[in-house]
């Protein structure tokens, strides 16, 4: 079974802080990680590798430093890693991103493509389904559990108030939730292999069958008009030296003022 896992290297947005004086983001020192939903997708693929001897290829579209994320994926157990990198890919919205990925993937042999549900920087959850559409293969998103059944997959597809048990034939694409599993640690030996034995394959614009205007910033139907930090909502009063009784009385008083009680 051939599985391709799409991952994204993202800044750990839980570590990002706002500079209270300037209102801008403090990006230095924020570690880069494999997007959590993608990492769970990779773990799902590695479980299939353990069980069914599947071949796992991990692929990312990003700047050259995204190779650190690929090495981490190899060190977790992926067999092969591919870096799609080119200035022509930059500035892409989800349409352009998914199209660029599709142009590379359409040349590859696969039974299953796994993508994480959403990235913690973009937060759109769109690339997976759009990618499946470009490749004209079925997709199932919000997958919480997966089993192989010959040439099909049996999936648990999460909704807000329950789930569907779904059977889908391969080739197909799924997007995975971080609730799905706990990704394994890297292995020391595999970290060494990733740096000494494995070559990361590179794909650039010239390898793809597409025109520059169709991808990247130019090909993106959506454009960012502006971006801004929310700026601190002006803080109300801070009460520091009250004991618990005084604090309780104060809260009750404030709630009364606001007609909440």
């Amino acid at each position: 079974m051939k599985i391709i896992v799409c991952i994204k290297q993202v800044p750990d947005t839980t570590e990002v802080r706002l500079n209270p004086e300037t209102g801008t983001l403090i990006r230095e020192g924020v570690p880069s990680i494999i997007n959590p939903d993608d990492k769970c997708g990779l773990e799902a693929a590695l479980v299939l590798k353990d069980k069914y001897d599947a071949q796992v290829t991990v692929l990312t579209m990003g700047p050259t430093q995204a190779d650190f994320a690929l090495k981490e994926a190899l060190a977790m157990g992926a067999d092969e890693a591919i870096l799609m990198t080119d200035r022509a890919f930059a500035g892409a919205d989800t349409w352009s991103t998914s199209l660029t990925l599709a142009k590379a993937l359409e040349k590859m042999d696969f039974d299953l493509i796994i993508a994480g549900r959403q990235a913690i920087d973009g937060d759109t959850a769109q690339v997976g389904p759009e990618l499946a559409e470009h490749l004209k293969i079925p997709h199932v998103s919000y997958v919480e559990a997966l089993e192989k059944d010959e040439n099909s997959l049996i999936l648990k597809r999460r909704f807000e108030d329950g789930y569907h048990k779904v059977k889908v034939k391969t080739p197909c694409l799924i997007t995975t939730l971080s609730e799905m599993n706990r990704p394994r640690y890297m292995k020391v030996g595999l970290i060494y292999d990733a740096h000494r034995e494995k070559e990361i394959k590179k794909i650039t614009f010239d390898d793809l069958d597409i025109r520059k205007e169709e991808i990247g910033l130019k090909g993106s139907p959506t454009k960012v008009k502006k971006s801004f930090t929310k700026g601190a909502k002006t803080a109300g009063k801070l009460y520091k030296d009250l004991d618990e009784k005084e604090a309780a009385k104060l809260i009750v008083e404030k709630l009364k003022e606001k007609f909440i009680i």
Partner: protein, 378 residues
């Protein structure tokens, strides 16, 4: 001279940190409180290839180097001194001598399962009457046909209650003094070999520190490491390597204490403000971190030397001397900066201080380290 980590080392550190935060830190208090050996952690370390990092793949290791291994000791020790020493004793003191001085057969039979983590190792040199004066070995080994018969006892042996393979030093020829001491590989199943009482200690309480008792234990003669009479030299060289591990343990303890203290002083308020705003707090922390960074450079240099086949005995002694004294000083200050809370078991710094003390003593006391360094100068 490149002070930066390679990409490979960065990825290793990422693994070490994630593992420590998720597996080691949550149970560190419990390990200390219950004085129990972290069996589950060792099992997980085995699964991730962490018990044989610096040994070649053909002997079950990971094909890494000493620096990569001691970086792990350091990271583990930030959360738990016990876990750090379990790894260090196993890797440097047991796997180490088999790798450096053993025969091909011994490496295949013992190093492979040890490096794979299928077996745990320990090292028995210290005796009731032979501590710093290690040459005063009273444990005897007498050749009888195909076996050496081992009689005697060892004390204060790290990992003893959980180890499968022991490097044991014994006197084979008393008339030759230190040149009459030999090193043996002893398996825990050998008849007549028992593990004695477990010491109740001030710190690294989860580490099983016990007596080894040998009553007419038959050790196959193939288990002699090197030649008869080479044991003392093997032991001293083994300890040189072990000292880098202990230095890394001390380093980790110190850094862990600083990290905890930084968190605490930001939260704690007195006199209407966070105590991190007081200059005393700031200056203390600055001193502590500077010393720990200095210790780190010494430790990494010793590892670098060993990896590059540059003499490292002196550098290892300096690293252990400085790192252990720094750990003691830093953990003490960490408790002080925590105030009353630092003295309680609610916060980890009191455990870190108790754990730090032993690093000035075992695998060669600080006094012995000074003997090594001054001997190199005079």
């Amino acid at each position: 001279m490149n002070y930066n980590l390679t990409e490979e080392q960065k990825l290793l550190k990422k693994l070490y940190k994630e593992f420590t935060v998720n597996e080691v830190e949550p149970i560190a208090g419990e390990i200390d409180e219950e004085e129990r050996f972290p069996v589950e952690t060792v099992e997980k370390m085995k699964n991730n290839g962490m018990l044989g990092i610096p040994f070649p793949k053909k002997y079950g290791g990971q094909g890494g180097d000493i620096l990569a291994y001691i970086m792990l000791v350091e990271e583990l020790s930030k959360a738990c001194g016990t876990t750090g020493v379990v790894l260090s004793a196993h890797t440097s003191l047991c796997c180490g001598p088999i790798y450096e001085f053993g025969t091909e057969e011994q490496k295949q039979k013992y190093l492979e399962p040890l490096a794979k983590g299928e077996k745990l190792g320990a090292f028995g040199l210290t005796e009731a009457n032979a501590g710093t004066d290690a040459a005063g070995q009273q444990t005897k080994a007498v050749l009888d046909g195909d076996h050496y018969i081992l009689n005697g006892s060892k004390i204060f042996i790290t990992n003893a209650a959980n180890a499968d393979v022991f490097i044991v030093l014994a006197m084979t020829d008393k008339s030759k003094g230190t040149r009459g001491i030999s090193a043996f590989i002893v398996e825990k199943e050998y008849e007549g070999f028992t593990i004695g009482k477990k010491e109740l200690k001030m710190g690294i309480k989860g580490s099983a520190t016990c007596e080894l008792i040998f009553e007419n234990v038959k050790v196959p003669k193939e288990n002699l490491i090197g030649k008869e009479g080479k044991g003392f030299s093997i032991a001293m060289k083994t300890l040189d390597g072990g000292r880098i591990g202990i230095a890394a343990q001390a380093l980790g303890l110190a850094q862990g204490a600083i990290d905890e203290t930084v968190k605490y002083v930001k939260e704690r308020k007195q006199f209407g403000r966070s105590i991190s705003k007081f200059q005393n707090t700031q200056f203390q922390l600055a001193d502590m971190q500077t010393k720990v960074d200095a210790a780190r450079l010494l430790v990494y240099r010793a590892a670098f030397n060993k990896d590059n086949r540059i003499p490292y005995s002196n550098e290892a002694a300096m690293a252990k001397l400085f790192a252990s004294e720094t750990a003691m000083e830093v953990t003490n200050k960490a408790v002080q900066l925590h105030g009353g809370y630092g003295y309680t078991r609610e916060y980890p710094v009191e455990r870190m201080m108790r754990d730090a003390k032993i690093t000035e003593i075992y695998e060669g006391t600080s006094e012995v380290m000074k003997m090594v360094v001054s001997a190199n100068m005079l």
